[in-house]
Amino acid sequence: MIRLIYAFVLTLFLILIPLFGVGILGLTRFFSIVIPYSAFLIFLAGSILRVLSWVSSPQPFKIPLTAGQQRSLQWIKSSYIESPYNKIGIFMRMLLEILFFRSLLKNEKTNPHVSKWLLFTSNKRFWLMSILFHYSLLIIVFRHLKLFFEPIPSIVNLLSRIDALFEISIPTILLTEIIVLVCIAYLLLRRIVVSQVRYISLTSDYFVLFLLLSVVLTGILLRHLFRVDIMDVKRFALGLFLFNPYIPHFVGSCFYVHLFLVSFLFAYFPFSKLVHAGGVFLSPTRNLENNSRTIRYLNPWNYPVKTRTYDEWEDEFREMMKEANIPVEKEDRKI
């Protein structure tokens, strides 16, 4: 529980930084230009270096986790996704994993039961919430592209329109706003309520959720309550990417909080568990074929070791073998 409080306080502290910096010290230039640029640089360089550090280590063995029948005898139906034996199988497996969270879909809870000992109950809720959460975030990011692209690609507009499917209030309350809030609340509550997950949760686990929650909440506030001059914001956003920075004038401190938290999230990305977004592509238990008996796999650092050779071995047991009429190597040579 103390970790939860640490994380909460830390998030509050982060929120206070821009409030103080912009609201009291008036450091608009710093918070609208220096912070986003440095955050983005850290994000870009950090992510690339992180991936490079992963791939600078070789994967010495082919260790796919086989979740289905191997390809062996022709008349046995093999599972080419669960136990892939070629690139197509791998591609399908990774596709299902990344787009549909397939492993998570398999999840089931193990419950103690007085008379039956164990009960396995399906736990699709977690999968559903996770996938909704991730796709909502993706759509939200996509929606924000309207601020960074001029002219706005029609696909972004289309997505925004689908997101505003239901005509509720003005500006329309978006589906992803609601879904992402519900999902974050679920993920947070789960960490607090489910004792197993509470036990394993670290400060950073809570912190990431609080951080995302505050990003989402400030975003919602900006849309529905503390509105900003969106023209100005777009000018600012475009300016950033065209290296022609522009300080927005008609935005409130809520905007700076949002911007700062997003910047922080980006900068924090390469150093946190959020790198799972990239790491999932590299997972050796999922992205390798189950064909290690068919095709020889090479380990770049495979080094010779001291083994016990047959000759050494026979030297020790020769007499015994001869007595027992077991053919021996040296003896044969002698005769």
Binding site: S56, L147, M231, F241, F250
Partner: protein
């Protein structure tokens, strides 16, 4: 950096990543409209606006929503500003008196920030300049 394994795949992935995150830069460079800021035409042939410009820039939709409900649901057609000045609550009667050109005022900005308000579906403003 030490030796990189799976070089091809990794570099492809990283290039895709970099291209994606830098897409605003090159997209705007390619299409050359990144520095475009719509120029909004206001003909001040009426009085000054019912609210400050800075307020309207951010909150005109909120005001329109309130106005809409005032007229439709409560039948009140007069808006009294804080300083006591009265205005008729009417999109076409009041707003468009000054902002005569929807295309050059409303649409330009809405298109710029990717907003499609559904107001104009029914509250049709003619193509030609309104007088």
């Amino acid at each position: 950096m030490k030796k990189i394994y799976d070089k091809g795949k990794t570099l492809t992935g990283l290039i895709i990543f970099v291209v994606l995150v830098s897409s605003p830069t090159w997209y705007n460079l390619v299409f050359g409209k990144g520095n475009y800021v719509p120029d909004l035409k206001v003909e001040k042939n009426g009085k000054e606006c019912v609210k400050r410009t800075s307020y309207m820039k951010k909150n005109h939709m909120e005001l329109l929503k309130v106005w809409r409900d005032e007229v439709v649901r409560t039948g009140n057609r007069t808006y009294v500003r804080e300083d006591g000045e009265k205005f008729e609550i009417s999109l076409s009667g009041t707003c468009l008196k000054c902002h005569t050109n929807k295309q050059e005022f409303c649409d330009r900005c809405h298109r710029y920030v990717g907003v499609t308000p559904y107001c104009f579906g029914c509250h049709n403003i003619p193509r030609e300049t309104r007088k």
